[in-house]
């Protein structure tokens, strides 16, 4: 029974949920690819436990993947889902709070056995009682149908069950009118060595699609128009991948080799893994014995003339603190990427948070200023990483780039650019035998010292963590020299404000409320503020990407608003930083520290109450 009715919609949120072994991340990313081919804009949000495969059927083992896609530009991963795929009772119970009131629930009814219901913590079967009322429940015996689909193939039980996620995907493809054959090439690539598995996956996917077609409960399918994106070539990137690519692009444009010294840590490891793949770009990755060795080898490589990078997440940044001080003192360029996660301590390692800001700004002994910038989205991570590297090298200083789990693991549509169109990078490399060279002589515009690279004739010099004499760089215990150097190091960072874009107000100057965010909250703040503006509310926003130094015009911008609210996923670190930097303004604050992104709905409520105060 082919449905004739195709409903045109603006956007949708689909959430895939199953056991850690059910392949939900893969299912989600194949659906993202298909969404991309369909020309929609989208953003994704993977949500998985810190265990690899917690016991099957339990809530702790549930792994989720959410995608928000649409015809307009998509800035968030979606508050609540329109469609939920639940591969077992545990995924249903764990995810029901994340779906809309009238969502479509596709559940694998084969798994709703007494044992599984008990494991999930259901006292009664939700498929039989009122639990799901209001929703459109599509019960699918996924196991049975998957077996059915491949019964003529000579496949072992385990392999069959491994492909049942494709049956679910087939259903969703049908629901959104997608061409499932586009996914075939993925199978052909991934299971190159096992044609039987390729065949099975194709069959199962197709079976799912066809099955959906026959389903009575599904009254209509949905179509979302191609997004109104700028003309050009596009691809799908995760934030971590984009970060890696931004760094590689900066290495290419600056003519330096890239060196990465890093120690694996969730959710930053992907950057290391991505860079490790690209030795052909003379991208040297060293998996260090720990985070300290990671950054210290980075300092060594920077001294030796590489575009040097270290990547980590919160606890790893803690371990790097002492060495960041050495980088500050030696004034060597490097990018330190912190993909923030839920803290403190080991905290919530697979959840996202913005709580390393203070650590990035101040987490080391002595007054040791560095540039701090924060990426605002997965695609922006590309540009932020590029800019971080450019600033590091041109200003001869470490730069801390803050992203977070939601950016790093999330994916978005990325417009492919030409590397040549990126701004040039010109590190101040000292010339061989330059008689004027002095290790701590500075460029008057940037206050950057020169980069004199070992092996270069005529520039031998020594660096180190003891206080250095101005100009000569000799060790100095002189009291006034120390004070001068403290000021110079701070001024060098402050002067970067001359080289970064000014803050841009989204909305009217002088609106009743200025919403302030930084980093990854951009999408959700933006969506909220735009919605409210469309509703006629007097709300504007600014999103900070440059944190140390702040853009030059902040004071001017803030002074145009009577009420300022700073929103962030921590206990109030940026708002406190603003209180320090711009004490003349009064700031309201709104914080969410749940390891989860803000929702448009909760932000709206907060802003409205502020407007009504």
């Amino acid at each position: 029974m082919k449905k004739d009715k195709v409903v045109e919609i603006e956007e949708a949120v689909v959430r895939f949920a199953g056991d850690s072994g059910d392949g939900m991340q893969l299912t989600g990313s194949l659906f993202s690819d298909s969404t991309a081919f369909a020309g929609n804009d989208f953003a994704t949000f993977p949500d998985f436990p810190s265990e690899i495969r917690a016991p099957q059927g339990t809530v702790s083992g549930v792994s989720g993947f959410q995608i928000h896609f649409g015809h307009k530009s998509i800035y968030t991963t979606g508050d609540l889902a329109d469609v939920l795929v639940a591969m077992n009772p545990a995924s249903l119970i764990a995810n029901l709070k994340w779906v809309k009131n009238d969502a479509i629930l596709i559940v694998n009814s084969d798994e709703f056995t007494d044992k599984n219901l008990e494991k999930a913590g259901y006292l009664t079967n939700p498929l039989d009682d009122e639990t799901l009322s209001g929703h459109l429940v599509v019960q699918v015996p996924l196991n049975t149908l998957t077996y059915e689909a491949v019964k003529e193939l000579d496949l072992d039980n385990k392999s069959v069950m491994k492909s049942k996620n494709m049956f679910a995907l087939g259903i969703i493809f049908y629901l959104f009118n997608r061409d499932y054959t586009k996914t075939y090439s993925f199978f052909e690539n991934k299971f190159k060595k096992n044609p039987l598995v390729v065949e099975a996956n194709k069959k199962v996917l197709q079976a799912g699609y066809n099955f959906a077609e026959t389903l009575e409960v599904i009254k209509n399918t949905f179509r979302i128009e191609k997004a109104e994106l700028e003309k050009g070539r596009y691809r799908n990137v995760t934030g971590n991948q984009a970060t890696a690519w931004g760094l590689m692009a900066a290495a290419e444009r600056s003519g330096r080799n890239l060196f990465l010294g890093s120690y694996p840590i969730t959710p930053a490891t992907d950057i290391l893994q991505e860079l490790a793949k690209h030795k052909q770009f003379t991208c040297i990755t060293q998996q260090a014995e720990d985070e300290i060795a990671g950054i210290v080898s980075t300092i060594g490589a920077s001294y030796a003339g590489s575009m040097a990078v270290t990547t980590t997440s919160g606890p790893g940044l803690s371990l790097k603190s002492e060495a960041i001080g050495l980088a500050v003192m030696t004034e060597l360029p490097m990018v330190i990427v912190d993909v923030q996660r839920g803290g403190p301590s080991t905290g919530l390692p697979t959840k996202s948070e913005q709580s390393d800001l203070m650590q990035a700004l101040y987490g080391r002994n002595g007054d040791a200023p560095v540039i701090v910038i924060a990426a605002t989205s997965a695609t922006d991570a590309f540009y932020s990483a590029y800019e971080a590297a450019k600033l590091a090298m041109e200003h001869m200083t470490p730069v801390i780039l803050l992203t977070d789990g939601s950016i790093g693991n999330g994916s978005e549509v990325f417009k492919i650019i030409k590397t040549a169109d990126l701004p040039p990078i010109n590190p101040p490399i000292a010339k061989a035998n330059d008689p004027e060279y002095k290790p701590y002589k500075r460029n008057p515009q940037t206050l950057a010292r020169q980069w004199a690279i070992p092996g270069t004739p005529g520039l031998r010099h020594r660096l180190g963590g003891l206080e250095k004499e101005d100009i000569t760089g000799n060790v100095s215990h002189d009291p006034l020299n120390h004070e001068k150097m403290m000021q110079l190091r701070q001024e060098k960072v402050d002067k970067v404000a001359d080289f970064i874009p000014e803050l841009k107000i989204d909305g009217n100057e002088g609106a009743d409320l200025l919403v302030v965010g930084w980093g990854s909250t951009y999408g959700v703040l933006m969506t909220t503020v735009e919605e409210m503006q469309n509703e006629g509310k007097s709300v504007s926003m600014v999103q900070f990407k440059h944190i140390m130094p702040l853009p030059k015009n902040v004071r001017e911008v803030f002074s145009k608003f009577k009420k300022i609210v700073v929103c962030e996923n921590n206990m109030g670190q940026f708002v406190n930083y603003l209180r320090m930097q711009l004490p003349e303004f009064r700031y309201e604050q709104y914080n969410k520290v749940q390891g989860l992104p803000f929702m448009v709905s909760e932000l709206k409520q907060k802003f409205e109450s502020l407007l009504n105060e």
């Binding site: 080799n257 060594g300 070992p454 963590g465």
Partner: protein
């Protein structure tokens, strides 16, 4: 990738490396003699391996010994405490054409820096690692270090240290290090031979230098260095030579069962044939371990190159891979990469 593609014809002298900075170690400190030996060896290293004076980089951690880079006219970094190994490795990986020398103390290398110490041994980058072992923390004024003998009273062990010390050679070998040698601050000839051997060895060359701290641990190596006892308490190992020592080279080392034993030529029917012949190149760690462990009074302490086994260096492995990927990858630059895989066009 070979370390040096074309050796340059280079002439260097000691003066090329002398610094104009004041050397601030205590008068009488063993570090002075080590500095002089290094200054004497660098020209030879440059000439034999084709490094010009700008190709030398001296790296260190924190400690009295770690002030070393300031006292030589080379490229150099004085790092943070315990981290000279990753600092040196970053430099060498970034540019394998440099001659990288690492100077560290027993505390810097084996207390706070212990992890990097064992990892550099295992990874085998071509770095020359000189570890000054004075069995004490000098710069912080006399606390026990991981090599301080158990029972020794120091400022932090007023009742005597409670801890079994490391033997650096054992640690290097246990970490699968390929080169270990031992030298003595009071024997410049041996130092220079050993430093040159370290430089010529292609891989991580770890040299322990027994160094005297006149202020906080004076005469800690006295049993080994005393005029009266030194012939009996030192054996200088040479590749291919029998392991003989004593004033008249009348004593030697023999393997009895699974253990080493000191024997005297001519006594109990011992002949030269019973004496072990030194082979630093065997990859088998057992015998090198036994040699590194030896200590007076039962055994003489071993000096010279105890272990020197060829093995691929880290930077060769990495840069060979770079060359290979460059030659074979269809993706040549970022534009290629961005356009690879799944992409789509919006018109």
């Amino acid at each position: 990738m070979e370390q040096k593609v074309e050796p340059k014809a280079i002439t260097l002298s000691k003066e090329d490396f002398g610094s104009d900075q004041m050397v601030k170690w205590c008068p009488g400190c063993g570090d002075h003699a080590i500095l002089r030996s290094v200054e004497n060896v660098f020209p030879k290293v440059g000439e034999q391996l084709g490094y010009s004076k700008e190709d030398f980089v001296v790296v260190s951690g924190i400690g009295c010994s770690s002030r070393f880079p300031y006292y030589m006219n080379t490229y150099g970094i004085h790092g943070i405490h315990g981290r000279p190994a990753p600092l040196a490795m970053g430099i060498k990986l970034a540019n394998p054409k440099l001659s990288v020398w690492l100077i560290s103390g027993d505390g810097d290398s084996m207390a706070i820096g212990g992890n990097h110490f064992i990892h550099i041994a295992r990874r085998n980058p071509d770095i020359n690692y000189l570890m000054f072992n004075n069995k004490i923390y000098g710069l912080t004024k006399g606390q026990y270090s991981p090599t301080t003998p158990k029972g020794q009273k120091t400022k932090t062990s007023p009742q005597g240290s409670f801890e079994m010390p490391f033997n650096p050679g054992e640690l290097v070998i246990g970490a699968r290090g390929k080169f270990f040698a031992r030298a003595l601050d009071s024997n410049p000839k041996l130092m220079q031979e050993v430093f040159l051997a370290a430089a010529l060895h292609h891989g991580a060359s770890i040299v322990e230098i027994l160094q005297n701290c006149v202020i906080f641990n004076n005469k800690i190596h006295a049993l080994i260095t005393n005029k009266e006892t030194k012939d009996d308490n030192q054996i200088v190992l040479e590749a291919g030579k029998p392991m003989l020592f004593g004033k008249e080279k009348e004593k030697g080392l023999k393997l009895e069962g699974t253990k080493l034993k000191v024997v005297t030529l001519g006594k109990d029917g011992v002949t030269l044939d019973d004496i072990l012949v030194h082979d630093p190149t065997t990859d088998d760690a057992g015998i090198h371990m036994m040699l590194a462990s030896m200590a007076p009074p039962e055994f003489p302490a071993a000096f010279g190159v105890i272990r020197s086994v060829e093995s691929e260096t880290l930077e060769d492995a990495v840069w060979n891979s770079v060359e290979h990927e460059k030659a074979t990858s269809p993706i040549k630059n970022m534009d290629d990469l961005m356009n690879s895989g799944n992409t789509w066009e919006i018109e």
